[in-house]
């Protein structure tokens, strides 16, 4: 079988698939109908597509529940991450406070005059 024939067959497959999914209109739909009318194997293909699409849709509408483990894992990770974030902030603030205290202790803080915007 040549690659060209494979390609042509594939195109027919896609056209009939689109027709079965109700996605063709006008001239395209008529061409697909012509193909299906002329060839019994194409007719069977169209019927197979229709069955497959019903099965896909039925399967898609079935409820699926995520395993508890997956949910727990996600929430646990978020808690750990939030804790680490807070710890980081706390340590950062503590460090800054100690640094300020140390600067004050060494008397390195410049003498700043407070101003209330009064001008004098």
């Amino acid at each position: 079988m040549s690659a060209v024939h494979g390609q042509e067959r594939w195109e027919v497959l896609e056209i009939i698939g689109a027709y079965a999914a109700g996605e063709l209109e006008g001239e395209e739909a008529r061409e697909a109908e012509q193909l299906i009318f002329e060839r019994p194997d194409y007719r069977r293909l169209a019927e197979s597509y229709a069955r497959m699409l019903v099965m896909l849709s039925t399967l898609g509408s079935e409820p699926v529940e995520a395993p508890e483990a997956a949910i727990d894992h996600a929430i646990r990770r978020a808690y750990v991450s939030a804790f680490m974030r807070q710890a980081e902030t706390l340590i950062g603030e503590l460090g800054r406070t100690y640094a300020h205290a140390f600067v004050y202790y060494l008397g390195l803080r410049p003498n700043t005059r407070e101003s209330y915007g009064g001008g004098i």
Partner: protein, 195 residues
């Protein structure tokens, strides 16, 4: 949960509230897991959905609320799933297509298609067949025919033009029917091959 509640939760979660994040996880864990299950299969779905929620927590301050939270979640889930290492390299099917594939009639003729779809065996065949479809095409197919998204929504979630989304769904559908026919009864010759 309506969009306003959701927006409030995402804002609080972005501000560091684990409780708000917990509520989001509980409300949407089904969506994330279901999508991961369809794209990656049962073996990898749990790891992928855990990874999705880690990414959501890390990036939730980047969610601006321009689209629905679920659209944003679809995006992260699909990015995670599509970036997951493909365990088996799939060959393109288009040049190997020898025959027009078809599914055998359900036993008992015109059986109720829904009942057929719900059988355990059929479900496993569907999942296995999905695994044979190229990942990006599979993602588009799942979004269109299992999640019921429009092409515009698929394009937004996959971050591709509308035409590409449409093409991926079309190719995914074709690859799926070939794979499903293979799952059903192997590659069999049918009368009246094309060409």
């Amino acid at each position: 949960m309506n969009r306003i509640e959701e927006r409030d939760l995402t804002r609080r979660a972005a501000g560091g509230s684990v409780e708000a994040f917990r509520q989001l996880v509980h409300a949407h864990s089904g969506l994330v897991y279901r999508l991961a299950l369809r794209i990656l299969g049962e073996e990898d779905a749990q790891d992928a959905s855990q990874e999705v929620w880690v990414r959501v927590w890390r990036n939730i301050d980047g969610f601006k609320g321009d689209s629905a939270f679920s659209t944003w979640l679809y995006k992260i889930t699909l990015n995670t799933c599509l970036n997951a290492r493909e365990k088996v390299t799939r060959r393109e099917m288009r040049e190997q297509l020898d025959n027009i594939p078809f599914l055998p009639e359900p036993p008992g003729g015109e059986a109720d298609p829904e009942a057929e779809a719900l059988s355990k065996e059929r479900r496993e065949e569907m999942q296995a067949a999905l695994g044979h479809v190229r990942k990006d095409h599979r993602a588009a197919l799942v979004l269109r025919h299992m999640e019921g998204l429009s092409y515009a929504e698929i394009a937004e979630v996959l971050d591709v033009p509308d035409g590409t989304a449409k093409g991926w769904v079309s190719r995914g559908r074709a690859a799926m029917i070939v794979a499903l026919a293979g799952e059903d009864h192997g590659r069999r010759d049918v009368e009246g091959n094309v060409g």
